[in-house]
């Protein structure tokens, strides 16, 4: 059996699943104290379960997100080396941000040596402010990590934790590298404390199976193993929903996944069983980062959104004014519309109908007409947003003639709707999009199921330059010498090993790991009408997917 848990804004959902499906499911109100919420939810969920039979525990929590958006990050010093280009001070983060002398160029060659004095001065200032964690990020450190390592070496052991930029991701983007390094450093202690508390709660409940956290890319990582990269566990909620839709529906063909909640609707897409990833990285609070995530798009509309009439026109959301009228609230909502239409049996129907009549009266609509108009408008807004989402994906630039000629576009063949009001809203959305719609069983706890069954994911980015004679895989800490014979096959071999190792480090099992190559390019390096080397670019990943145990059952 597996325990899956997803902390949402309103409810924390948890399930126990086994080969026959869902064994137990609970909904707990999410309180201000996250650990207390987790404790209550876990306790409630396993109350009738033999905990010895639980072999895996997966949590999608809001720990990191909350710390970021509530500004509860630990004070963190930053040491940055940049050189010419965009002024690094534009990307200043944290209370003690220092730019030191020294820089690399885009090949990773040293353009200016590091100035030890400026590094030591910066670290002294940071230490003297009583700051205990530090982040180090260099421009082009993913082409050559030596400057960052040298800075860490000079700083020595006087900080509790040092986060190095090139470990965050092999992707190029210095401003995002700075922010990602900063967040991982600033969340380090908070995450450690959270992990310890969560572990003691689990111990209390006799839950000793391997423990994982869900990441926004729809993959998991071992609770104790992700310690240096806590930002990778932020904002995992939308990924939980997508993975749940994938587990419960299968998402064959090109599937739009719509998670309609109380106040927001998340839109995402799954292509033949593989969720679509964001090409750059997630935004956490106010920071653009290099943290890998699924491509999701949120709009502020849901079952509990306030409905108003402004200028003879229906307006739904973006705010929520308490409960739906049927549950004693004051502002009419789409939920009241569903109750009025008789497609949802909940709360006080009279209240709901009256709220519709009051709302639509001035426009000359009766209660049912008002409710129909609300459902049409809401599904229209969601359908338009989904179209925009797909259009944005199809408008992404491509960089080869092959891709321009092929002009591949995704075109959804069906829509899966999940979340509280899924069965009621799905037919309307399907109609608005002109697509067949499906609502998976257990649509209300899809997210918890998604967390439970998600496999470990990982990614590596390799760059090799045989003219310079170096290969680098920043995520795996690889920076080695190579000879002129190093080619794409050598790169794929090396990448595969590195990916397996890095996946194992965050808790991947020994099962056959499915590896995908997502980018693969070799360039002849031409200098003065002759070939002097090869420049190899390779990106490999374990794509988000479902653990084999669940797949076998499905």
């Amino acid at each position: 059996m597996i325990l899956g848990l997803d902390v949402g804004g309103t409810h924390t959902d948890a399930v126990i699943i086994d080969e026959n499906g869902i064994v137990a499911e609970t909904k707990t109100l999410t309180g201000d104290d996250l650990l207390e919420t987790l404790r209550l939810s876990i306790k409630d969920t396993v109350s009738d379960i033999d905990t010895n039979l639980i072999q895996r525990l997966v949590f999608s929590t809001t720990m990191a997100t909350n710390a970021i958006v509530q500004d509860r990050l630990e004070e963190t010093g930053m040491i940055v080396s940049a050189g010419p280009g965009m002024d690094p001070d534009w990307f200043s983060v944290g209370p003690s941000f220092h730019v030191v002398e020294g820089c690399l160029d885009h090949q990773g060659l040293e353009a200016m040596p590091l100035n030890k004095n400026t590094v030591l001065r910066a670290s002294d200032i940071i230490r003297n402010k009583g700051i205990n964690v530090i982040g180090v990020a260099g421009k082009f450190s993913v082409r050559n990590p030596e400057h960052e390592k040298q800075i860490a070496d000079w700083i020595g052991n006087s900080f509790n934790h040092i986060a190095l930029g090139h470990h965050m991701s092999g992707a190029l983007n210095f401003p995002r590298r700075i922010a990602t390094t900063y967040l991982n450093a600033a969340l380090f202690s908070i995450h450690r404390k959270f992990s310890e508390s969560l572990i003691s709660i689990l111990d209390e409940q006799g839950l000793n199976a391997p423990r994982y956290l869900l990441k926004p890319d729809g993959g998991t990582a071992g609770l104790g193993l992700i310690r240096s990269f806590p930002a990778q566990t932020a904002q995992s909620g939308p990924a939980a929903s997508v993975m749940g839709a994938l587990a419960l529906d299968g998402c064959h063909g090109t599937t739009l996944v719509l998670d309609v909640g109380g106040t927001t609707t998340d839109i995402s897409a799954v292509l033949d069983g593989v969720p679509l990833l964001d090409p750059t990285g997630i935004k956490l609070g106010p920071y653009l980062t290099l943290v890998r995530s699924l491509n999701t798009y949120s709009i502020a509309i849901g079952g509990d959104s306030e409905v108003k009439i402004e200028n003879n026109d229906l307006k739904i959301g973006p705010l929520r004014k308490g409960m739906p009228v049927a549950f004693g609230g004051t502002a009419p909502t789409p939920t009241d519309a569903m109750i009025t239409l008789g497609i949802l049996d909940a709360g006080n129907r009279d209240y709901a109908v009256k709220s519709m009549e009051r709302l639509g009266g001035p426009a000359g609509w009766d209660g049912v007409k008002t409710a129909e108009n609300i459902m049409d408008r809401m599904s229209g807004i969601i359908a338009d947003a989904a179209k925009t989402f797909i259009n944005d994906i199809n408008s992404r630039p491509v960089y080869t003639i092959h891709e321009v000629i092929e002009d591949q576009k995704i075109e959804p063949s069906s829509v899966v709707v999940i979340g509280g009001p899924a069965p009621q809203i799905a037919p309307f959305i399907g109609k608005a999009l002109g697509l067949p719609h499906r609502v998976p069983p257990s649509f209300g706890v899809v997210n918890a199921v998604g967390a439970a069954v998600a496999r470990v994911t990982s990614e590596i980015i390799l760059q090799a330059d045989t003219e310079r004679g170096t290969v680098m895989i920043p995520e795996a800490g690889i920076h080695e010498k190579i000879d002129q014979n190093f080619d794409m096959d050598s790169a794929i071999d090396m990448g595969r090993k590195a990916l397996k190792t890095s996946a194992a480090e965050i808790g991947a099992g020994t099962d056959a790991i499915e590896i995908s190559i997502t980018e693969k390019q070799v360039f002849n390096m031409i200098r003065g009408y002759s070939r002097t080397g090869r420049n190899i670019r390779l990106k490999m990943c374990i794509t988000p997917g479902i653990i084999p145990e669940w797949k076998r059952k499905a």
Binding site: P84, F91, N173, K283, Y287, S395, Y399, M525, I526
Partner: protein
């Protein structure tokens, strides 16, 4: 999607970027116009985080089609024979940039595309100077066709004289072509002198500014401020285009100029082009990454004072004072010619047909071409134009052009040329009717 965050800059001017490195195309396996050319530029642009800037919008490219080419070129034997998909896409990138600006989505746009186009002339038998079709000219005729724009200025800052663009706009008084380049006595293609000032109907609308080898930041910016900007001010174009070649750079291996990334950025900030189009520049590691970052930042209105090549302090040499004097003298003479309208002008009578013979060499493809060009001298329009062209490949064609805004007399003249041309002497006979917007072959 959303591009706002504490680590995100906001652009002062909304800037469109059409980036197309054609990572799977080269002229030949070891040719400088190669797959790798924009690889390091992409690395630098990504690492600087330019695509995250709020206000910088990256556009997806689309190929141009043959109709876009037919507004400008006489392709021999036809469009398909002298282009590949890469040329159509590169030209299409310029059209995407034009649409982005003209639709008002962005204030300006940069087509960072390859292969280049400014050596491609009106008649195309093959590849010259790495160019097959003239991507700026294709864009300009598209701007006219789709948006009704008439007055356009091109400022070509490639180190090589843009002889193709000059050829195409030689007779067009509505297109001001200004080329700033290394003196043709010292560099390919060997043309581009101040006395090349445009055809009889468009005298003064072609301006060549040949600069001596070793011209540095100071010289280029002096020319911009003292000559180019006053010329633009006088011409009053609706759209300004920068043919942004990047081989004036001090790290460029095949030219002798002494310009820098910051210099290019400053030039761009002075010029404020509506659309910039990449042309040449083959210092793929040491110049292009920095020049392109500088141009993008300048277009977006971001401070470029921190943009610098890693070897700038070591290798950049300020312009010698004798070069400064030489440039000041040239600018004085050219001001006199072009700003005070003192270009010597032969006397022609209305309706007179003026002929010239041109020999053209296609260095990349080794083709020789001889042209006989006839233009009708006209005070009312750009004049009826015909070109008879024979190539060393045995092609012999006749092309007739009715210019945008042609007068009735020029239209009639051009039509009679087309009608009277016979297949006995030519493989192909073309008619570009820019008034009707039609293209015929017989």
């Amino acid at each position: 999607m959303e591009k706002k965050g504490v680590n995100i800059m906001k652009a002062e001017r909304r800037t469109g970027l059409v980036f197309f490195p054609a990572f799977d195309w080269a002229i030949s396996p070891t040719h400088p116009e190669r797959e790798e050319r924009l690889l390091y530029t992409q690395d630098q642009v990504l690492e600087e985080g330019l695509l995250d800037i709020d206000g910088i919008v990256e556009y997806k490219i689309r190929p141009a089609d043959f109709d876009d080419i037919r507004r400008i070129h006489f392709c021999v034997p036809d469009e398909g024979a002298v282009t590949t998909e890469s040329h159509m896409i590169s030209a299409g990138g310029c059209l995407v940039a034009a649409d982005a600006v003209l639709s008002g989505e962005v204030d300006s746009a940069f087509a960072l595309v390859r292969p280049p186009g400014h050596h491609a002339m009106r008649v195309v038998h093959g590849n010259r100077g790495f160019c097959n079709i003239n991507i700026e000219a294709i864009m300009i005729e598209y701007l006219r066709e789709k948006y009704g724009i008439r007055r356009i200025a091109i400022v070509d800052t490639d180190c090589h004289h843009g002889d193709g663009t000059q050829d195409i706009y030689w007779h067009d008084p509505d297109t001001l072509y200004i080329s700033i380049h290394q003196d043709g006595r010292t560099l390919y293609p060997g043309s581009g002198f101040p006395n090349e000032a445009g055809g009889p109907n468009a005298l003064g609308a072609t301006v060549n500014i040949p600069l001596p080898p070793q011209t540095g930041e100071k010289g280029f910016l002096y020319v911009m401020n003292e000559l180019v900007m006053p010329l633009l001010n006088k011409f009053q174009p609706e759209i300004v285009i920068n043919s942004a070649g990047q081989d004036n750079h001090f790290n460029d291996p095949i030219t002798d100029m002494n310009f820098s990334a910051r210099g290019y950025a400053t030039l761009n900030a002075i010029l404020k082009p509506d659309i910039a189009v990449l042309e040449g520049g083959y210092a793929v590691e040491n110049a292009l990454p920095y020049v392109n970052v500088g141009i993008i930042m300048a277009m977006a209105g971001i401070d470029t004072s921190t943009v610098k090549e890693p070897n700038y302090d070591r290798d950049y040499k300020p312009q010698p004072s004798y070069i400064t004097q030489e440039i000041e003298k040239l600018v004085d003479e050219m001001k006199h010619m072009f700003l005070e309208d003192k270009i010597s002008k032969p006397e022609y009578s209305q309706g007179q047909i003026i002929e010239r013979i041109k020999d053209i060499y296609y260095d990349t493809d080794g083709i020789r071409e001889r042209q006989r060009e006839s233009i009708r001298y006209c005070k009312d329009c750009a004049g009826a134009l015909s070109i008879e062209s024979a190539s060393s490949l045995g092609q012999h064609i006749f092309g007739v052009r009715i210019p945008y805004g042609a007068c009735t007399a020029c239209m009639e003249t051009a039509l009679s040329w087309f009608e009277n041309a016979s297949h006995g002497s030519f493989n192909n006979i073309y008619l570009q009717d820019r008034v009707k917007g039609t293209y015929e072959r017989k």
